[in-house]
Amino acid sequence: MKKTSFHFLRVGLAITFLWIGVLIFKNPEAWGGYLQPWAVGLLPIPLAQAMIGTAILDIAIGAFLLIDFLPWLAALVGAIHILIVLTVSGITDITVRDIGLLVAALAIVIDSLPQEVLKWFIKKQQTPEIG
């Protein structure tokens, strides 16, 4: 990816994550309403607390992406987070946009993945299992 386009994508996604975090903080119960009943039943803590935790995670991902600190890790966590959101809320009129965010996060992971991590991953795949 061209350097400028990468930074546009990074900052744009960062602002999205940060603002979603702020929105959830404002009204955690309302955002919890998007969760499917089966997912709410799995929560070991009250829904509002779980949503506040989600808001903190969103803000942390956004902050990491914004300051360009470990962008691949932030985007990877962000992508996993969006995948979980899509699973627990289903693809609705609102969450359909998360597909775009998921792919954008994956694009950042692919583009900013450090060579060391990539080499480690390839090495891990090539090493034959003993026993």
Binding site: V11, A14, I15, L18, V22, F25, K26, L66, I67, D68
Partner: protein
């Protein structure tokens, strides 16, 4: 009956519009300060690494950023900018969420943006008349702060 309902409806619509305007202005202030954070972090990183920043327009970035006006007392301007943008983004989030004391936060954000706008005006004057070079990142930051000032002004006037 209609005559009784209408003023209530109008008041409700006015309340909705007022709320919508305020919420939009906080969202815009937050977005602009986030852009400011990413800009200043970039400049701080480049300064620490002793590298030249990319200068898409103007070409005078290095000249301006290494001039004797690049700090106030001992604090580099990029650090001051970062602190300003972090404060602005936090306060606009507090105002949006409704973290008390709202009047205090509102006053602080207005004062800091007013101060930042005047300081940006001064720095732009320095680039134009004293240093005779234009720095893309400094102008971007000034524009961001002026836009934030315009949002505060417009939302206060309506």
């Amino acid at each position: 009956m209609r005559r009784q309902v209408r003023p209530h409806l109008l008041r409700f619509l006015k309340h909705l519009g007022y709320n919508y305007l305020y919420m939009t202005s906080f969202a815009l202030l937050f977005t602009l300060s986030a852009i400011g954070i990413s800009e200043t972090v970039y400049l701080i990183r480049k300064r620490i690494a002793s590298e030249k920043p990319i200068c898409p327009i103007g070409g005078g970035c290095t000249l301006v950023l290494s001039s004797k006006y690049n700090k106030i007392f001992i604090v580099p301007n990029d650090i001051l900018g970062l602190l300003f943008y972090i404060t602005a983004s936090s306060i606009s989030a507090f105002l949006f969420i409704g973290v008390p004391p709202l009047t205090f936060w509102s006053l602080i954000i207005k004062l800091s943006i007013a101060f930042g706008s005047i300081l940006s005006l001064f720095f732009t004057y320095l680039q134009w008349r004293v240093i005779h070079a234009w720095c893309f990142w400094c102008l971007m930051s000034a524009l961001t702060i002026w836009l934030m000032g315009s949002i505060i002004l417009v939302s206060s006037l309506i």
